[in-house]
Amino acid sequence: MLLYSQPLELTKLVHSLDAFFRSSLSPFWATLVEGILIGIAILAAYALIALALIYIERKIAAFFQSRLGPNRLGKYGVIQSIADMIKILIKEIIHVNKIDKLLYYLAPFFVIVASVLSFGAIPFGQSLQAVDFNIGVFYVLAVSSIGVIGILLAGWSSNNKYSMIGAMRSGAQFISYELSAGFSLMTIVVLSGTMQFSELIEGQRYCWNLFNGHIPAFIAFVIFLISGHAETNRGPFDLPEAESELTAGYHTEYSGLRFGFFYLAEYLNMFIIAAIATTVFLGGWMPIQIKGWDAFNQVMWYIPSWIWFFGKAFVLMFLSLWVRWSFPRLRIDLLLNLEWKYLLPINLVNILVMVIIVLSGLTLADIFPAVFGK
């Protein structure tokens, strides 16, 4: 591990905090304090990323449509989303009459907890990762699918036809595209031979998985972006909340902060998809490294790892916004056809192609070990 003195790298801060608590407190209290600190850090990052994303999305959408976007509050409207957050916090929470109370109140919990759980597994930078399971990829797939339970509960319990139709569409769409997301991530697991995020990133030091697996990896990358985009109910795939036919879909009956949680989770899920794609395909927080060019590598390491991570993730999020504001909405049967008749069969063949490439030594790292090898 190359470690140069970087002024903005948070790794040293994390390690020195850990060492400080371990040395000055008893093991139980040290664990407790660290747990609380990790929780606060996750909450802060969660809220900050959501606020930043909402602002970025509104600004970029405005530019795509030749508008100005938010520009009144602060320079270029940067504090607009903070004002919106305060507004949504003090909005009245309307009590609806004929709902299924328990499920109605439970739904935001499911949606938010699913996104926080997968958020915790994302490696934001060197040692900036809360949960590093050795089944990381599988864990993220598993916990992110809890979110669909929340959406179905919200739609069912609201006792509203729009909510019901929206939730059913969302459920069908989510579970269908989850298959593609799973299979395309599996293609990379075949290539790298590990499911742990830290090992995945370490394995991409000299060659990103996207290039290492060339053709099948590229197909998997495109499929993952499409299915991730569909899983978050955005862009041309936003049928569950198609406002012209379903008002607001599954969260029609939710008001105030309860609605705010659905909104928050949607933006965070977009970030999580971009972050997973960055980590699995584009080398995560690892700076660009070229074998043998030590001076160049050292300069690259001087940029903090979390800036690399957010830079790569932002490129993917921009792509997602670009798609969202450029294409018309699909019809539900076309949407499900795209998954079951095109993406899924392509994916199944793609995995087998990847296995053949890995076994016959045709990955870039195998062909050019001097340049791309580990």
Binding site: G120, M168, E178
Partner: protein, 117 residues
């Protein structure tokens, strides 16, 4: 800290976020009760009947197909991790596995499950 205890920390963080947020919102937000306000929002028209009724079967067929392939994903992930050491035998055995499941998809496709009428 171990990964499992960190998982619990993250889980509690998520629950706290929703609970605390709702608590603050309850304190800050105005309250007023009005029967009309609590009616289901269906664009101004009075609600007709309940929405807890039978729903089209197409969605459930997709859910059943999903079950099949989701279980396949669970089986395939451990295989994908060790495929380098399994070699050609691993490829051959999984080829049979995927072929059988693809037959299932092909059958459903032929039967018109994927057609939306």
């Amino acid at each position: 800290m171990t990964n499992s205890s960190l998982f619990v920390v993250v889980l509690l963080t998520g629950i706290t976020l929703v609970a605390a947020g709702l608590g603050v919102a309850m304190l800050l937000s105005p309250k007023s009760t009005n029967f009309q306000k609590g009616e289901p929002y269906e664009c101004g028209l009075p609600t007709h009947g309940t929405s807890w009724m039978q729903f089209r079967v197409g969605y459930y067929l997709y859910a059943i197909l999903f079950m099949m392939f989701d279980v396949e994903i669970i089986f395939l992930f451990p295989w994908a991790t060790v495929v380098r050491s399994l070699g050609m035998m691993g490829l051959a055995s999984i080829l049979i596995f995927i072929a059988i499941l693809s037959l299932g998809l092909a059958y459903a496709w032929k039967k018109g499950v994927l057609k939306w009428t």
